[in-house]
Amino acid sequence: MRNRKIRGLIILVVLLVTAYYFLPMVVPNLPSFWTTKRLILGLDLQGGTQIQLEVDFSNSELSEKEREDAIKTAYEIIRNRIDQFGVAEPLIQRVANTNRIIIQLPGLKDPGRAKDLIGKTAMLEFKFVASSEQMQETYEAMDKFLQENIEKYDFLEEFTDVEETEEVVDVLGTEEDIEDESYDNAMIFTDLTTSEEGIPLQIEHKHIAKLKSLLKDPLFLQNVPTGLQIAMGKENKNDPYSARDIYILHRKAEITGKSLENAITRIGQGYTAKDKGPYMLLEFKKSGAKKFKNITGQNIGERLAIMLDDIVFIAPTIESRIPDGQARITGNFSIEECHDYVIVLNAGSLPAPVNIIEERTVGPTLGSDSIKAGILAAIIGMAVVILFMIIYYGLSGLFADLALVVNVAFIIAVMTMLEGTLTMPGIAGMILTIGMAVDANVIIFERIRENLRDGKTIRSAVDNGFSRAMITILDANITTLITALVLYQFGTGPIKGFAVTLSIGIVGSMFASIILVKAIFDGFVTNSAKDKLSI
């Protein structure tokens, strides 16, 4: 009798806790203290973007501790940037013991901007544009280098056979000049960086990838004349397929982001294209302002390129000394673009480059489709199982159905209590549990039927059925639990969600079928004078 009291108490507590956490799902307008904990919908259900980043140490020789610090700094800076970006409830997490960071941005429709924002190292540099002699020298050097090493750069093949040079050979026609054919053909770099309209220092959009690979190639870079650098201009956001400018610059940075005090977005009110629209206003620290004053004062007439992350934004000619330590970056900016750069400039630059290694976005329409579909599938599946159990097992089936409903409420309640995240695979796990949860009761009922068939009394058929089935149920469920735990250990986001609902479901179904249904049976069998059991 004492055991029964304890059992009754356990059932009561579990049901109350379940009801407490489950009710906010179905009853609106509960007092606020009741709804502090809630079930969070995963990105795949509410829509949003998940980005996984890796801090890239491949080009740096940092000690273990320095790397650790670099990751922490990167994390802080990225968090800063995301906070200013203005998404509701972003989640930024470092993956434990790795150099990776996961960012979740719920409700974001266009991940492009966020990715740009995160990936920017925001290295601000002011560099002088090379003189025309130096440009000439660079072009000759690069043309020569590419001609001699063309076999290493097969993607440049289309620039090696130029029809016009054949004509030249035809006109001159001498043997010496045929030898010179290679020289005539040798303007690969010049051709690459001349637009289709014949404007030099411009690259067609379709060739940009080729130049990018060259600028990443160590051998190519070694052959750029000492002290000089080749850089690309900013793309035109209004016409992304237009040709882009090429710059030859001095490698040395005159001023860097370290001297920057503050950056703000301003909107120009002028009438010329240059003075109209959003621009960035940079304000230097005292020391930086002094340096800026000197540099501008000593180099009037020179062009000073302003670069962000190795891209030249503008390269204005210095017209006069700039004493107030302010610089403007103008260009074909959209206001968002301007705003994003300002965020990055102010949040500081990353200690090492970060690479996006994974990105997943679910649009809001797919998310809401998934929720609707998941609920529909759950309701239909559950209805069929509930009906089947009643038809097949009669009143006992109804008891099992009760256990099933309790189990589903239990899963949702525990998820809410743990403030877990419900994902689509999580819903799938729950639906699967609906099918499997009745298993424990099926095992018990089949045992009881067997016992009754063998001529046992109802009382002993029920008791024996439960106690015998219990061993089977434990063994079967524990092995499933092992797989669920492995899944959890292995899983990334969505799979974890599946493993969690499945595990809770297994525990819940054991409670519901072994303890709850047994209590109902006990009450029913003891209190009923009937000599028949509906099973």
Partner: protein, 318 residues
Amino acid sequence: MRFFGKTKIDFIGKRRIAFAISLVIILAGIVSLVINKGPNYSIDFTGGVSMELELTPVKEGAQAVEIQAIRDALTNAGIQDAEIQEIKGTEGRQLVLIKTQAVGDMKDKTSTKVIDVIKKEFPDNVDPETLIRLQEEVGPKIGEELKGKAILAIFWALLGIILYIWWRFEFTFGLAAVAALFHDILITIGIFSLLGKDISLSIVAALLMIVGYSLNDTIVVFDRIREDLKIYRKESYSSVINHSINETLSRTIITSLTTFVVVLSLYLFGGSVIHDFAFAILVGVIVGTYSSIFVASPLMVEHFNKREKKLGTRGKKR
């Protein structure tokens, strides 16, 4: 209501036929895997870009977009060999699925490029609010890692199961159960290969789920075998085990049925995201049920018979 009374079906006697059937199905899958050079891994494992876009006409008089037009636009922008496919959308929505290998590294953002091209070429069919339904871009490094992780996960799950069954039953029971699990996984992967379906991260989760389900089923039968072996000491192993299968048959069928029904509901109504996952589990429920009756238990008969020949302890001395 009752589907089964006391059945006396001779499952064990037919075990050789069952083994042959299993072997044929597994071989068909393996042949397909060999021809296709391994399973069709999704971008989760290979790296690449996968996106689902909505291109329902938004302007009056706009036409649905031809798949070929998308292919041409992408090729012009330097994205070759994209796999483009139209999928059924509700309420007459036009949805397309685009998969490509990532061009260059992740910094070049192939997915952003695809979006730019679509926005530019098909402005009459793009509503920026609903254009992107799903956009996934996975770097090759992550893919490789996940592959390793997935294999490790399956390994650990199987090891854990063998150890548990060893502890609760006997080592050979564990081996037989795991053999049945391999049977189920091989058949499911084979069927996926035959149908040209991708193995994604969620399919690996489904495979582990099948492992869990099939095992659950097998253990219920094993449990009865363990019990019956103690009760019917004088009967031969094959007749005891056959008896156990018959006794649990009703439960096996009913549980499989209820599970099958809910997963079918998930498959039919659960939406595109969960479709292949549900399909894998549907296959798994059928195969897993079959394997606990026709693979795991008969394997135990084979094992016991071998031991019996060596020791000759059963039925005679008692």
